[in-house]
């Protein structure tokens, strides 16, 4: 149901029944290694190209999800997936493998929440019973497309971010009351915001206004106070973007506390890993949400969270042509199902 200007409320509270998360070697050394289902030692994952490796990541995440849910892929009606690579081929190729009717999404690094919002919407209105949604990214494949070759010895500025190698997939199903699973309760779709920044090595700074805009829209539409959530977590703003967003939010009068406001990109890696400002990539928010955050929710650490995935909608061509970076953010609110409710 539409509420306010740009938000949906999911009265039927679709449930995230199972998740699957896969990652690469760099993530295996990271902070959240325990929350991954499969971790690869090799960046190639036994494939002969990084793009194929990314496809493998997504396929594995899907397979793991189905195994955990105890379902066959024939029981899944739709797959919502996307990534950053040219014409989202890794997602489409993975969809070819799993043979599930497929929507290809592109929202750059916000794809994970775009997918989750759409999947919840479809399930909420009984457009489907079981829907898979996910996003993936691969460090080397993304660097190759957007930046320099992996082995090129260019110096990255401290504002740069590290693209995650990993895929996260969640299975959204109809709510079964009484089951201890996280549910999606509402979503806010963001609009494209461009503040004129054009440095592709400072995505956080470019995406911050989009994140702030979506968060403010969410609380305005839902008529809620930020204290409703235990945690408001952004996708991949990194150190700079997160600080900036926080300042934007507090300046606009939102009553938000510093320790309830976190960033997936800052959780994923250890401090001694050379990631400059933090993690980024379509897989970033997907692996942190479907892995770490939902595990924490099941443990009872958080009851209600708001995940805001941000995306920079640039292409290698557009920034070479000196265009500024338009950005978008989507927010999905996730709560624990009330027991016996």
């Amino acid at each position: 149901m539409l509420k306010g200007q740009q938000s949906w409320v999911f009265e039927n509270r679709p449930m995230i029944l199972a998740t699957g998360v896969s990652g690469g070697p760099f993530e295996a050394n990271g902070n959240l290694a325990d929350d991954f289902d499969t971790l690869h030692e090799d960046l190639w994952m036994g494939m002969d190209s990084y793009e194929k490796a990314q496809k493998v990541l997504l396929e594995e995440a899907i397979t793991t999800t189905l195994e955990k849910a105890g379902m066959d892929k024939e029981q899944i009606e739709f797959l919502f997936a996307g990534d950053l690579i040219n014409q989202i081929t890794p997602s489409s190729f993975a969809a070819r493998t799993v043979q599930i009717p497929y929507f290809g999404l592109f929202g750059a690094c916000s794809t994970s929440m775009e997918g989750l919002a759409l999947a919840s919407f479809v399930v909420n209105y009984k457009g489907a019973r079981n829907v898979l949604t996910g996003a993936s990214s691969h460090n080397a494949a993304t660097e190759k497309q957007f930046r320099y070759p992996t082995e090129y010895g260019g110096q990255k500025p401290p504002t740069a971010q590290w693209t995650v190698t990993g895929a996260g997939v969640g299975l959204v199903t109809e709510n079964v009351p009484g089951q201890q699973h996280p549910v999606t309760s509402s979503a806010t779709i963001g609009k494209v915001i461009d503040m004129g920044l054009s440095d592709p090595f400072n995505m956080g700074g470019a995406m911050a206004p989009a994140a702030a805009d979506t968060i403010m829209a969410h609380f305005r539409d839902m008529e809620l106070d930020p204290s409703y959530y235990d945690l408001i977590i952004t996708g991949d703003l990194g150190r700079i973007g997160q600080e900036t967003t926080f300042e934007l939010l507090t300046k606009s009068g939102l009553n938000i506390e510093r320790n309830q406001f976190q960033d997936c990109g800052l959780l994923l890696y250890k401090d001694d890993q050379p990631v400059q400002s933090g993690a980024s990539g379509a897989g970033c928010s997907a692996v942190v949400l479907y892995g770490h955050l939902l595990n924490q929710m099941k443990k009872g650490v958080y009851k209600r969270i708001l995940v805001v995935a941000t995306g920079a909608l640039l292409s290698p061509l557009s920034f070479q042509q000196k265009e500024s970076i338009p950005c978008i953010a989507h927010a999905v609110s996730i709560e624990m199902n009330e027991v016996g409710g």
Partner: protein, 158 residues
Amino acid sequence: MASKQKKMTPQQQKYQQLQQKHELKRPVLKNCIKAFFVGGLICVVGQAISYFYIYFFDFTEQSVGNPTVATMVFLSMLLTGFGVYDRLGQFAGAGSAVPVTGFGNAVISAAIEHRTEGFVLGVGGNMFKLAGSVILFGVFSAFVVALIKTLLGMWGVL
């Protein structure tokens, strides 16, 4: 830059000022010092190699440049292949990019990157995607300088 600023809305400008405050600055002085020492170290290696050629082969100071450059490029290609050079580059910045080893790194990293697209369209077509402009503008500026020198010589200035 000034013309770019004008096109921005006041809202954009205001945001950029706010954002500037949080943006981490490049540690320019620290980078310069690191670049100076690493770049210097690479030059010491180059000097050692050129002395090596002078000692053991028939190269004079004038002609030793070519084999030295070839050796340095070869070494940087090996280091690139082993995955060392990009880490060195992150540490040293211009110190490892400006010497000829940086050129070798730019060529070979692109070649490695596009190996998956095959030898002709991948390696062949993309090998010089970073180094190509170095070659083009290097050759062009050499041409201009040579032209000026020739003309000055003809007019009797030099």
